[in-house]
Structure formats: C-alpha cells, structure tokens
Point group: C2
Chain length 195, copies 2
C-alpha cells in the first residue's frame, strides 16, 4: 500500500480504471494506456505501482475478491441466525454484482490469465462459508456434518444466481433471489428442531 | 454432419483433438496445425469441415454441450423419482467431468471466445433442469412453485461441485458428492408429504 494519501488515491484510480478496461475489453485487448487514460493518470504513475498488465490484473482480482468479501461482511454486521446470515450474505453479493457487473468477466478470465488467483478466490470464499456453517452447527441452528463440500454447493448456487439475475438480467430483485435460495437451504440444512 | 462414415470419423477425430488442444493450450495459444497433428489428419481435412479456429471452437462447445447432455440422459434411462433423477444426473455429470476434465476450461473460455454459445450452454442446461422440476411437481414429488431460478441454483451447485471434486481433486467419490448435494435438495425441495 502507498504510504501517502495521494498515493493511495492514485492506486485506487488505477484499480477502478483497470476494472472497467479489463471488464469491457477483456485481458488480451486491454492495454496499460487504456487504463491510465481512464484513470486520468500519467503512464509513469502506472509503473510506480505495477510492472505489467499481468501484475495489475492480479492486483485487481485480489481487490475485487476483497470487495466481495467486504460486501458480504457489510451485510453481516449484526449477528443473525445461521440461515439469515446466508440470506444476508447472498443479498449483499447480488447487490454488489448488480453494481459491478464486470466482476464476473474479470474473475472468470482469471482462470486463464492467472489460475492460481482464480483458485485462491474460490477456495477462500468456500472457507468463509464453511466457517459460517461451523458457527451455525455450534449454535445448534444447522444440522451436524456440514463441511467444505456443502460450502461449495452453496457458493455455486450463489455464483450462478448472480450470473443469471444480477449480470445477465435483473428480472428478479436481489431479495427475491436470496429468499428463493434460502428456501432451498432452509429446510435442507436446518437442524430438524429448527424447521 | 458428413454424409460418409469416413467423413464422420474424420470430423470426430478433429473434435476430439480440438478438445485436447484447446483444453491444454487455451484458445489463444491453440493452433489449427496443433489440432490436425493431434488428430493425425491432413491440414486440408480441417478446411473441409471448418473455416477457422473460431469455427471449430464453437463446434467443440456445441459437441461438449451435447456430450454433457448425453451423460445426464444416459444416467436417466430408467424413470426415477424426482430427487433420484437429480442425484443420477449429478453422478453422471461428475463421472463425465472426471473423464473429460478439459470441459471446464473450454466451456469457461467460451465466455470470452464466443459469449453467445456460453449463454446457450447454460440456458439450455437450466431449461432441462426446469423441465425435470416441472415433471416432479406434476407427479407431486416436489413442492409447488419451483421454476427457472431453482434450476439455476441446482445447476450452480452441480457445476461448482464438479470443479472442486471432479476437476481440481478427486478426494470424494461422485456418489458421495451427489448424495451430499441431494441431501441439500431432499428436504429443501421435496413436497412436505414426501419428506
């Protein structure tokens, strides 16, 4: 992270511009000058922070991954029962994806540009869901035996609902989509005495 | 489709070779000569069937989409109760993905090379799941009100479980993964009197 406020602002502008450049043009067509022009910064500023197009792409994936995490955390500020936590996390994610539709293209292209970051993004998301499931089990709100694979199932559900109902079309509200996903989880993963 | 048996064999060899070439090297690095060398066919044969690398890529996505559909249909030969149908379809898909790990990379890269085919692949998969849910509702085995969005949720669950447990690692059997996904659906989407 840059040490000065001015440096942090420039870095922020570069990352935001990179999200638009990579999101609109894709990695191969995107260019460093395209990014600096969108950011309104000099080409030299780019090289203060990054060595290459690859490097800013990796930083961007990390930045977006952090924003997704932040959007979920924001939605989870108050402690909620386990299933309401999943609903709030999905609603927060869908709202974030609507406002940042480019995120899908960038994360998906990451599979080809930087496979290691692609893997880290999903593995760390799955880990956070697994932790939430563990917490719900400890509180007796979720049935026993839930683990990593259940987290992958929930993550896949959320990612595909976001692709269809936040990125491709907005014919259902985030709340309605999250309620629908929650209705699948509610009876399925709630402990019998919570049904 | 070629009219002669020999033509159909050549086309098949080209598509199988293309799956390996695109799967291993990615669209941008892949080459037509790489495909014909792997297929053991003359360059001229390629141009009998395809005009360009783009065209065989599109044909390959369509071919793989058909194979995924075929693998699911194979698993569903005998009529089963609705939830057993979903379990069998997922088991069939996971077995197929284990044997054809390149399918993920190719379908995912399709989002960038040919976005329309990418969309068709998932929309038609979702449509088939929606039809199965409709059938299950008609038979009274699934709860009322299931539709397209539930199908997207199920598809997302299946795709991510396949990425994690068929492509990245095989630390759970297809049957165990399918049982786990089914346990989420079982109580969640079964009609109350089927629970």
């Amino acid at each position: 992270m840059p040490r000065t406020e001015r440096g942090r602002r420039t870095l922020r502008k570069l990352l935001d511009a990179a999200a638009i450049e990579f999101g609109e043009r894709g990695f191969h067509e995107a260019s460093i000058t395209g990014i600096t022009q969108r950011a309104g910064t000099a080409l030299g500023s780019f090289y203060t922070y990054f060595d290459s197009k690859d490097e800013i792409f990796r930083a961007l994936v990390d930045d977006l991954s952090g924003k997704v995490r932040g959007a979920a955390r924001e939605a989870l500020r108050e402690p909620l029962p386990a299933l309401e936590t999943e609903r709030a996390a999905l609603t927060g994610f869908l709202e974030f994806a609507r406002a940042h539709k480019e995120i899908y293209r960038i994360i998906d292209e990451c599979e080809f540009v930087d496979p290691a970051s692609f893997r880290v993004h999903y593995e760390s998301t799955a880990r956070r869901i697994t932790e939430r499931l563990g917490e719900g089990m400890r509180k007796g709100e979720l049935r026993e035996g839930l683990g990593e694979a259940h987290a992958w199932a929930i993550m896949g559900m959320n990612v595909f609902l976001g692709l269809r109902y936040a990125v491709w079309a907005e014919d259902m509200t985030p709340e309605a989509v999250a309620e629908l996903a929650n209705s699948i989880l509610r009876v399925g993963i709630a402990a019998p005495d919570q049904r």
